[in-house]
Symmetry: C2
Subunit: 234 residues, 2 copies
């Protein structure tokens, strides 16, 4: 089990502080030589570190040291920007697309609408310290937010809801599971197909219990740490 030794050796260097957040590791061929092994075995070790969330890959760019994950509480209304700022991180949001579409199967199911109902679809990429960490797709009930697309959707949706539609989240239903980034999704996060991902699906309701919108978040799995407190129901 050579690759375990290699993994530990790299970890040791990381803990020794020789490598800092978002710093690039040496080239694979160089590392392979250092540990007197082949690239295949070396990559086995690197994949392990990736699975543990200690390093991450950018497609064709190399391996980098993972920064501390963002603490994320799905039961808080705090939006991404405020969450990041509170934790001393530099957030950025990039609007990929925003349009009125006919609900696909997933959207219709989450929003409890008939297929082919009108919904807004908003796709955004969120960055932390210039690293893309999550791809978010929002589906929003079109009937509740006329002319939504006229607002600046690179900013907080919850702010727009509050300021222009007098609408706020009251409760949320969420689902969390792991998957992997594929195709265009991987590309958007500068990842390769198969990169481990944490998926957070949220469905939001207003004070009257009405369903407002939902979103599906694909996180680079090392970038997020879900934390929350709950009173137990029975």
């Amino acid at each position: 089990m050579q690759y375990l030794k290699i993994k530990d050796a790299i970890l040791e260097q990381m803990d020794a502080g020789k490598l800092t957040s978002q710093q690039k590791l040496p080239a694979e061929r160089k590392l392979a030589e250092t540990f007197d092994t082949t690239r295949v075995t070396l990559r086995e070790a690197l994949s392990l570190l990736e699975a543990e969330g200690r390093i991450y890959r950018e497609d064709r760019r190399g391996w980098f040291i993972s920064p501390a994950p963002l603490r994320y509480d799905p039961t808080q209304t705090l939006n991404f920007t405020n969450m990041a700022l509170t934790q001393g991180r530099q957030p950025k949001t990039e609007l990929v697309s925003a349009k009125l579409v006919l609900a696909n199967k997933q959207a219709a199911s989450l929003l409890e609408l008939q297929s082919f109902s009108d919904v807004y679809q908003v796709n955004r990429i969120r960055y932390l310290d210039d690293r893309p960490v999550v791809y978010v797709t929002h589906y929003i009930r079109a009937d509740m937010f006329p002319k939504l697309l006229s607002h600046d959707l690179a900013h907080s949706l919850t702010d727009i809801y509050r300021d222009h539609y007098d609408c706020m989240y009251q409760s949320v239903r969420y689902r969390i599971f792991t998957s992997s980034l594929m195709g265009s999704l991987a590309q958007a996060l500068r990842a390769t197909s198969g990169t481990p991902a944490m998926v957070v699906e949220r469905v939001n309701y207003n004070h009257a219990g009405q369903l407002i919108d939902c979103d599906i978040e694909y996180w680079r799995h090392d970038a997020i740490n879900i934390e929350s407190v709950a009173n137990l129901s029975r």
Copy 2:
């Protein structure tokens, strides 16, 4: 990108219903031959399917089709056994060890105790339909539960708390993140080192807000699906 095509081909067979839950895939060498490739490339495709939670590996035993994940709500008091039964699954609990120990760093930190305080450490493996899916370590404040070890710890801890100590969970603080199974942990779940894992850390409090116990759960990542509802705080 040959391995993507292979992945899709296997997925197709799964969806066509030719392969059912917990069924073993053909041998790697056989699959490699079928797709006219080498084992290395084939394993690339299999790893992708593993990352997506569609198949899983048992160490030296082969690849198997993943059953549907267990729906898990960290804000419910439902214990593992009831949760599984409710969802039509066959649960089993295996007690690995139960002893009074001096709190290690992790335990002391989670329980907010001084290092070297007395705590119970209980290790258990939980099965779903004869498949080991989660390794759980409990740390329990010794001062609150005298003679705890005299009870049958293969059964529900919450039942023991309630029936013998008149103690129930009231609130919970939890943390969820991904990691990988390593060493003895992997072995206990019949996995190989590096298998993707979902870690759930819980700290439980009673009605008076007193800290009772904590547990660290290492799930095979494809076996769990976190689902919950929350009222938003602000």
